[in-house]
């Protein structure tokens, strides 16, 4: 008996400890604050749930006053609902951010939860969902299942959508992110199954913490390989990817391109750094569009230099690619200062595996300077 309660507490405490560790390392990312805040909220609701759960088991076996039993049951129900709603929001942010800004989004999606909270709180008096027996302990009614159904449907929506996105995703990174989101569905499926078999098992916290850890580590992984300002891949990822590609370059030849903003230094010097940053951000938008159209890999080399690795069959000509990027740039750009911005592109054809990333860089950079000189002559 004592072993059972202590083990239950250990489950709660260790899950809480893991959640606290994650919470401590969420960090801050420029321009990505909304998803970070939601993730923090998720963890906090989860910790709240754990506290309620621990209090519940202690009061259930009369180690704590009975009144705490009622409070903790209601608390646990509300926190788990809030947790699942924040999972839903987090998933939405990860997949399509544009809905979040839509008027009434939060009002509409949280509507059923608001109704549910009214039900839960009034049940103390009316006894719709649960009532208290003569010892003061909580008795669940059959209608209690409605909470389970609501939670389940929210998670089902988000995981079905994630599964669909994963199926359609073009590169491995996106697919992995989406697949990790589908794991949300494991929470109700596994915990619901065990919960109906035996109420006295702490099955939810371990499942939830496993999923949160998975999502969190993938997220951190993403940050290791991405550039803070432009959200493109960074040089670390480029090196990894390039090494993979170079290995079978004989069978799958590709073009290595370097891109450089013309006179970036003068933009920085005349208008200040924030305009320079804006130019980089818009250019990175244009580049990620290119990567979708041409199935190529783009990364920021550093400063104002970007690298593209593009398959031979998608490569047309340097001028053509250059123009395509510039067209998207002009379309996205709203700043009048940047309307005359041009870029230079140097390419190098790779069909053997004797080269290193540095050599590729050097050769394509050299080709770029030839074009640059032409640009300056024109001016």
């Amino acid at each position: 008996m004592i072993h059972y309660i202590l083990s239950y507490l250990i489950v709660d405490i260790s899950c809480g400890l893991f959640a606290l560790i994650l919470l401590n390392h969420v960090g801050y990312d420029y321009g990505n604050t909304y998803s970070i805040r939601t993730f923090k909220l998720m963890l906090m609701f989860f910790i709240g749930y754990l506290v309620c759960d621990a209090v519940w088991v202690l009061s259930q076996f009369h180690y704590l006053p009975v009144i705490l039993n009622r409070i903790s049951v209601i608390g646990a129900m509300i926190t788990i609902c809030l947790f699942i709603y924040s999972c839903f929001i987090y998933g939405t942010i990860q997949m399509d951010l544009q809905y979040i800004g839509v008027f009434n989004f939060h009002f509409l999606t949280s509507f059923s939860y608001n109704v549910l909270f009214v039900f839960i709180l009034t049940s103390v008096k009316t006894g719709w969902l649960f009532s208290f027996d003569e010892h003061g302990l909580v008795n669940f009614h059959y209608s209690f299942i409605i909470i389970f159904i609501v939670n389940c449907s929210y998670l089902l929506i988000i995981s079905a959508k994630a599964a669909f996105r994963a199926y359609k995703a073009k590169n491995d990174d996106d697919r992995r992110t989406y697949l990790s989101l589908t794991s949300f569905m494991l929470i109700p499926v596994l915990s619901g199954y065990f919960y109906f078999k035996d109420q006295y098992l702490p099955i939810q916290p371990p499942i939830i913490i496993c999923i949160l850890t998975l999502i969190f580590t993938l997220r951190q992984d993403h940050r290791i390989y991405s550039d803070a300002l432009t959200k493109l891949n960074n040089r670390r990822k480029l090196r990894k990817y390039c090494d993979e590609r170079l290995e079978d370059a004989q069978y799958k030849p590709f073009y290595f391109c370097m891109i450089d903003i013309d006179d970036f230094k003068s933009i920085n010097d005349t208008y200040g750094h924030h305009i320079g940053d804006e130019a980089l951000k818009i250019l990175s938008l244009a580049l990620s569009q290119l990567s979708r159209n041409k199935h190529c890999f783009v990364a920021r080399w550093g400063g104002d230099e970007f690298a593209i690795i593009i398959d031979k069959q998608f490569f047309t000509s340097p001028q053509h690619i250059c123009e395509e990027i510039q067209q998207t740039f002009y379309k996205e750009n709203t700043n009048p200062v940047l309307k005359d911005l041009t870029i230079s592109l140097g390419t190098y054809y790779v069909n053997n595996n004797q080269l290193t990333l540095e050599e590729l860089y050097k050769s394509s950079d050299h080709n770029m300077y030839i074009q640059k000189r032409a640009y300056h002559n024109k001016k």
Binding site: Y200, T217, D221, G302
Partner: protein
């Protein structure tokens, strides 16, 4: 409730197993330096093994499943717990004192306790006794199995405190003490199970520490620049937002450093030398702020940032002079021309500002410096 207790025990171990597998699959050379990653991998795979044997021996002990020669799992479990402590010791040594960690004496002597434990467990009756009907019961000195891991942890504590005492940099000190905090997990788990043997505490406590180390390693990679291994822009944003919030109580000075005509250096001397110049700037920054315990970062291409407490700096100009001096000095050491120069602008910050505003102001300061030179 006995039945539930069994399930709980297995459940928590499965949870830890899943989490450790997630971690193990994410540990690669991009998370830390080679030796760190090697030892981390070592520990985490041992933890996975430990969890597996722990569950198996638990199931066998409560006779949910019968297996002949099942006692072997208990033996393995006992030995693995010592190996984990050994791996932990080596890992801490790599973090604290890399040179010492690679000497041959340490390499061989530190493994001896593991062999001793293996001998004690397998050949004597001290820890586990085998009865005639193939059951395992606790030996007379059952608690001896906590002593050797405990010794390893004692060694860890000693090395960390010794190293922390020696360094002067406050950030290094903090890093070392966080290593101690991490060692708290397994030892507290061991203490609990010393008194109550059948609770699943050691595994989650150990794993919590492992998770913490892993997160620290990952954070290190997220927040550092690849070329100069200074903090990167992401870390700078994070740091300054925190710093700005308490700027009233702890005013600070922010310097922005820019290499003059860096584009030309790159074009004329090649990218290799360009990278070298950046590394030299980083080196000079490290040397300049050595006694100030400042925050130094590479903010973008050729721009660097230093943040210092105002109370530690007598004269803001002094830092600029030092910086220029060390920059020239290191250029000379690397046989580069000493024509290169730095433009440094600074700003004292005593009230709360927006981050973008702060960057803009210090940027302006720097450009005035640059213009003045022309």
């Amino acid at each position: 409730m006995v039945h539930q207790y069994y399930i709980e025990y297995v459940l928590i171990n499965i949870m830890c197993l899943v989490i450790s597998i997630i971690i193990a699959s994410r540990v690669n050379s991009d998370v830390g330096n080679d030796l760190e990653v090697y030892w981390y991998h070592f520990i985490i795979s041992m933890v996975i093994l430990f969890i597996m044997t722990d569950v198996t021996s638990f199931i066998l002990k409560h006779q949910v499943i019968h297996l002949i020669n099942g006692f072997i799992f208990k033996y393995i479990r006992c030995i693995i717990s010592v190996i984990i402590a050994y791996g932990w010791f080596r890992f801490t040594l790599v973090k604290v004192n890399r040179k010492l960690a690679e000497t041959t004496i340490i390499k061989y002597t530190s493994f001896i306790p593991v062999i001793i434990t293996a001998i004690i467990v397998c050949c004597t009756d001290a820890i586990y006794k085998l009865t005639t009907d193939n059951h395992v019961i606790h030996g007379d000195y059952y608690r001896l199995q906590w002593v050797i891991p405990g010794m390893y942890f004692l060694m860890i504590v000693i090395t960390v405190i010794e190293a922390a005492r020696k360094t002067k940099s406050l950030t290094k000190k903090k890093e070392y003490y966080s290593l101690l905090l991490i060692g708290l997990g397994p030892s507290s788990g061991a203490i609990v199970s010393f008194f109550m043997d059948s609770l699943p505490v050691v595994v989650p406590a150990t794993l919590a520490s492992m998770l913490m180390i892993f997160m620290n390693l990952q954070d290190g990679r997220i927040h550092t620049d690849v070329l100069t291994s200074l903090y990167n822009r992401r870390a700078t944003d994070e740091y300054l937002i925190e710093r700005l919030a308490k700027a009233k109580m702890k005013p600070f000075i922010i310097y922005m450093i820019d290499v003059d005509n860096f584009k030309n250096i790159n074009d004329t001397l090649g990218h290799k030398n360009g990278d070298l110049v950046l590394q030299i700037v980083a080196e000079a920054m490290r040397f300049t702020t050595k006694h100030y315990d400042g925050f130094i970062a590479r903010w973008g291409g050729d721009e660097f940032i230093i943040v210092l407490d105002e109370e530690k700096v007598d004269q803001a100009e002094n830092i600029i002079n030092l910086m220029n001096y060390f920059f020239k000095y290191y250029l000379f050491q690397h046989h580069l021309s000493e024509d290169f120069s730095l433009s440094i602008g600074y700003k004292k910050c005593q009230q709360e500002l927006k981050l973008a505003e702060l960057y803009h102001q210090v940027d302006q300061e720097m450009y005035q410096q640059k213009e003045a030179k022309k």
